[in-house]
């Protein structure tokens, strides 16, 4: 092996890369939040009596689950241009991940709703609660516990997916910043191994935080 590793420039670039980490987490959080909202809508649409709504929701879910996430990002970045909608790399990446998240979370929510026995809502109604009250006070908290881990899991996967921003030219997130540094120096291995370490730390930190939060949230 005749390669001389150069780590010093990478260490000097660390502040830039850490700033990229913030953007990475931002995109993941945004895409998860949008994914949750759209996922709830899809789950409700999927179970709705309205055939059009159910069909559209099913099409989104199956399309989202049976095509690559990268393909969905491409569709947002290149494809929407045909409708005169030109998204920035940031927006296209976020939209693509959110679309993907929604397809997976929709099935999580649907399963979660089915896991709560109908007798719970019935017991709540028998105490004089209205339908919305029973949903909000009895069903929703239990649903939240069921979907909590799948959501945090999806958010971690979203962090990993943000690296795909490279392919649509995003240069502000961790992968993008790293690539910018890389093309200046061609110290690809050094820069990207530090990036890999940072992704790993973000993923582990998110898991730790979600576990600690769960211990506070779910005492039963």
């Amino acid at each position: 092996m005749h390669y001389n590793f150069h780590w010093r420039p990478v260490l000097q670039a660390l502040p830039q890369m850490l700033a990229g980490c913030v953007v990475t987490v931002e995109i993941a959080a945004l895409a998860t939040a949008i994914g949750i909202a759209a996922g709830v809508a899809l789950a409700l649409g999927r179970t709705s009596a309205n055939r059009t709504a159910a069909g559209l929701a099913l099409a989104w879910i199956e399309f989202g689950r049976n095509t690559p996430g990268l393909f969905q990002i491409y569709l947002a970045y290149f494809g929407l241009g045909s409708f005169g909608l030109h998204l920035s790399s940031f927006a296209a990446l976020t939209a693509g991940i959110a679309f993907n998240n929604a397809s997976y979370l929709a099935e999580t929510f649907r399963g979660g709703l089915r896991a709560i026995p109908a007798t719970q809502a019935r017991a709540a109604r028998s105490l004089g609660m209205s339908g919305p009250q029973a949903f909000r006070l009895i069903v929703l908290p239990q649903l939240f516990r069921i979907v909590y881990y799948p959501i945090t899991n999806q958010m971690t996967l979203s962090v990993l997916m943000t690296a795909l921003g490279l392919t649509v030219g995003l240069d502000t997130d961790l992968a993008g910043v790293t690539q910018q540094l890389n093309v200046l120096t061609y110290r690809t291995f050094e820069y990207f191994s530090v990036a890999a370490l940072l992704y790993y730390l973000i993923a582990k930190a998110m898991m730790l935080v979600s576990r600690l939060l769960a211990r506070r949230l779910f005492r039963y």
Partner: protein, 216 residues
């Protein structure tokens, strides 16, 4: 020759890309399954810290973006003096990535076989190997197959990422056609349809297995 519509030739070009996607998937699933079986059995049967250490190492592959792993291996191979084709590198990275997931599927499936069942087998005079091949693996297969099908489809979809190191698989070939024809929506629609046609029936079959075996 500078024709801005999508021709039959373009579609054939994309189908060729789809062939590369399937070939990548084949090697990734094969490598990932063989490695995953070995590691998974080790994880399920090895005691204490060796099992945990192996788990922690494999967890790294699941906690670092796949694209970053591809870039790293692509950069590291020449450092080691290895002259590997982009295709080989793609297969290696996808296979180790798949192995990291497959290991956990195998481990969970083997651990799902109740200990009394295994004790019963051993008490009938079966050897460790007989017990493994006649009792544990067939039972574990039922538990693990739906997850394994999901993993295989996941690898098929993730194989798109190797376009970054210059492999012209389905998505990259679509991109090339887009550049030529300037018809992104149509071309991506065709690519999406191809992915869907490959993935959807297999996903349905997996769901069917899961339902069927879950109810028993």
């Amino acid at each position: 020759m500078f024709d801005a519509t999508v021709s039959l030739q373009d579609v054939l070009f994309m189908l060729h890309g789809a062939g590369i996607t399937l070939l990548l998937t084949f090697w990734a699933v094969l490598g990932g399954t063989v490695l995953g079986l070995g590691f998974g059995l080790l994880r399920a049967t090895a005691p204490g810290w060796p099992s945990l250490a192996l788990g922690a190492v494999l967890d790294v592959f699941r906690s670092v973006p796949l694209l970053i792993q591809i870039i790293l291996v692509n950069a590291f191979a020449p450092i080691l003096g290895l002259d590997l084709s982009a295709f080989t590198i793609g297969c290696i990275v996808l296979a180790t990535y798949g192995a990291a997931y497959c290991t956990e599927i195998v481990r969970a499936s083997v651990l799902a076989v109740p200990l009394p069942t295994r004790r019963a087998a051993r008490s009938l005079g079966m050897t460790w190997w007989d017990d493994l091949t006649a009792i544990v693996l067939p039972m574990a297969l039922r538990v693990g197959l739906p997850g394994w099908i999901g993993l295989a489809l996941g690898l098929m979809k993730d194989s798109a990422l190797v376009l970054w190191i210059g492999i012209i698989e389905l998505l990259r070939s679509s991109q090339i056609v887009i550049t030529r024809t300037q018809q992104p929506l149509l071309v991506l629609g065709i690519a999406g349809a191809i992915y869907f046609v490959i993935s959807f029936p297999i996903a349905r079959a997996g769901a069917w297995f899961e339902r069927r075996w879950h109810d028993q």
